[in-house]
Amino acid sequence: MRPRDALLLLALLAPAARAGDTWTVGPGDDLARALEAAEDGDTVVVDGGVHAPVVVTRRLALEGRGWPVIDGGGRGTVVKLAAAGASLRGFVVRGSGSSLDDENSGITVAAPDVRVEGNRVEEALFGVSLAHARGSVVADNVITGKALDVARRGDAIRVWYSDDVRLERNVVTRGRDVVLWYSAHLTVADNEVTDGRYGLHFMYTDDADIQRNRLVGNSVGVYLMYSRRLRMSHNAVVGNRGPSGFGLGLKDMDECDVTDNVFADNRVGAYVDNSPREAQSFLIFRRNLFAGNDTGVALLPSVRKNTYSENAFVDNGEHVGVLGGGTLGANAWSDGGRGNFWSDYAGYDRDGDGVGDVPYRSERLFEHLAQRHPELKLFVYTPAANAVELAARAVPLVRPQPKLLDDAPLVAPVVPAGVPRGAATAGAPLVLSSAGLVALAALVIFGVSHRGPPACSGGTPAGPGAILRRRGRTAGTPVAVSSDVVNLEAVTKRFGQALALDGLTLTVRQGEALAFWGANGAGKTTALRCLLGVIPFQGRVTLAGHDVRRAGKAARRLVGFVPQELTFHDDLTVRESLAFYARLKRVPAGDDALLARLGLAEHAHKAVRELSGGLKQRLAVALALLGDPPLLVLDEPTANLDAPARASLVALLAELKAAGKTLVFTSHRLEEVLALADRVVLLEGGRLAADVPPRDLGERLRAHATLHLLLPPLAVERAEAVLVDAGLLPTRTGAGLSVEVDPAEKGRPIALLVNAGVPLADFEVARTGAAAGRS
């Protein structure tokens, strides 16, 4: 039978209508009457128009064309699907009533195997509400709640006594909660929930899969309660900062696996209460990123049998909190010899296996006090808190018992993959922030995520004097005027028994470029980390008068940092990366001028994965320049670049220096030191061996000899390790290794290899001259 006008059929009493027919309803037709006339299995096509609320009591497929509207007029429920197997697709459903008691909804589903797909639900108290709707699907809908105070809103989606339901690719905003209760085997995937109270609230929902959702800007991201065997992976849980502000809450949960998620910028990344509940149960957190939360993970002291491994804890106010105080000894902080990455870890990885050689201990006294007395959190980031930490270091008697001990901390973060970027339907800042946070490591490892805008930002490069204009540790607190941007006083750093820095004292003046030069282990990177204030040390470091420990936030606000190893989110474009980091730093996003200045304008819309190494390094510089900091700190900025890219980057840094930026960098390349540096600080064994103009560096290096070591192929790696451990800088050749040595110590490498049992076929002193240098 051909499609026909519904009213015509009604007029004829539709005697020939059979299951499987298609009915067409025009803009002025009565949809309710068409539904009465249709039979199980029919399709009702609605071409535009505005229609009154309907109840579907037969197994019909309602198909909207041209976005027909079903308008409740602000009363009751708009669409009720009460027949098994019915479907609703392509409608605008709007204007429910506002009674919480009566649960006025846009769409209610009260039968199994119903499909609600591709609709727009607007101005509805409850969006889509399912009860006793086993096997139903709610997918590809856009649901927007009423503009009410959150306590007066209804749930955007409610699933109640409905097993085997799938919620997929819905975009939900301004609802109260997405509630999933008393229902088993749910799939909740690829949804986006913003501006609500509880992004997702599971209760009595065993065996659910929660994947690739974005929970952004809600009071709480995800709350899981009284359930078992939930699997949560690849979700972005960002900026959930309501009164409790949990990214993820778990209460009385068993056998849960939380893997590869991003928890960023929440009050608490994950809150764990009585989970697991049962003695033989478990809770696993693996490969998640906890970044920029006030507290990364908060556990009640009774929590046991949690295993945390390969997570990255980056720049949280406190990485792990114990609510009410206590320790977390009954939980595992590593698994299979792999712990977690902690951005404040101050150890080292001597054997290069990616696992730190000394345990990570969380034992901050102020955190300890604040957990026992939450009121003290008011003092976080204040001089008072710093004073407490200072006292704890000075008086070991007051040091608290460590909260946790990670005996296999990772020295580099494991970045979760496959976390959603966000849909085009959401606001751009939120879209960018969640996915972009995945690209954590390079920027925030050293704590350069700025908590507030600069006191005086401006969009132009900082010229001479900019450093003084940008000051302000707190309003009304003057800072001593000085042209010294960086000041290190007797800085000493030990890693266990190893002395990494030994009383380093130096200053860097405004607009100056200083290079650290030295062998592996000479202390270059350690000096940078002390300068950034991200590892504990003895002595004092100030940046433009701000002590990096006592006023670390203010000090780091002045710094843009470019790490040696870059980690980006490959799926983001260049422009999205900039926008994301700008939001993280809470500074204005870089504009086209910044992109042009960095030579990135024509690549702005490219995904980071498409960039060459040189362009990625430029992007790293661009990120460091967000907020226009006056001081750039760069760790081996050209280490991974080919010659043309190196030259290009050096030219760029020279431009920045000419524009007034102060540069502090490490390098092993003489040509870039000569091109950029005003001074070179030579470090040897952690001590300042010389502070010289760049031209003198060449003279010093020329006094070296090159020793070629001929080695069996299988012995090269071992020989290299032995020499590096001894502070030498071997480079591989076709026949073995070559190493630069003092002419008076040519025999030392040979003795080292012999003593280590490394077979040495032959050696020769090939020449003397400029050292290649490598670090």
């Binding site: 209760w181 209760m203 309660m225 409790s244």
Partner: protein, 156 residues
């Protein structure tokens, strides 16, 4: 150490302050949409389901659902001096002992227990007639504890 002392003193001073603005002669203040439930940490948003109790020392405990109220003192082994609940329909505060308590699994409450209160017997019985469930004495309600929820895996 000199800097540490004032902070520690402040800590002790703050620790001595009672929380939450409890009043000995009435229900505590509840900041809807702000205060978390003392048991489940969910935000207390709906006045009609909100409840509270006072400990003998006057400390206030606030809950988003009557189920959380009855569970919390059992789980924490805490003494209860006075219970306050809301009339589900009028939103008025009621003393727990003066309220008529209804457990109706089909009523959707914030934590899914179906527990609500009203101020008089007639409305309580009407509610049971309308929504199903049962009337509970105050003692039976307080004895529920965590059993306010179904055993995991069972429908309520």
């Amino acid at each position: 150490m000199r800097l540490l002392f004032p902070l520690v003193a402040l800590t002790l001073a703050l620790a001595g302050c009672p929380r939450g603005g409890a009043r000995q002669d009435g229900p505590p203040d509840v900041r809807y949409g702000v205060d978390p439930c003392d048991r489940c940490q969910m935000i207390v948003s709906e006045e009609r389901f909100a409840a509270a109790y006072l400990t003998p020392s006057g400390a206030a405990r606030r809950f988003d659902d009557l189920g959380c109220l009855t569970a919390h003192p059992q789980e924490r082994a805490e003494l209860v001096a006075e219970v306050w609940v809301h009339d589900h329909e009028t939103r008025a505060w009621l003393r727990g002992r003066d309220a008529w308590l209804v457990r109706a699994p089909d009523l959707i409450t914030p934590m899914g227990t179906g527990l609500v209160a009203v101020s008089d017997e007639a409305r309580a019985r009407a509610l049971v007639a309308r929504a199903g469930g049962e009337l509970l004495t105050f003692e039976a309600f307080m004895a529920l504890g965590p059993r306010a929820w179904p055993a995991r895996g069972e429908a309520p």
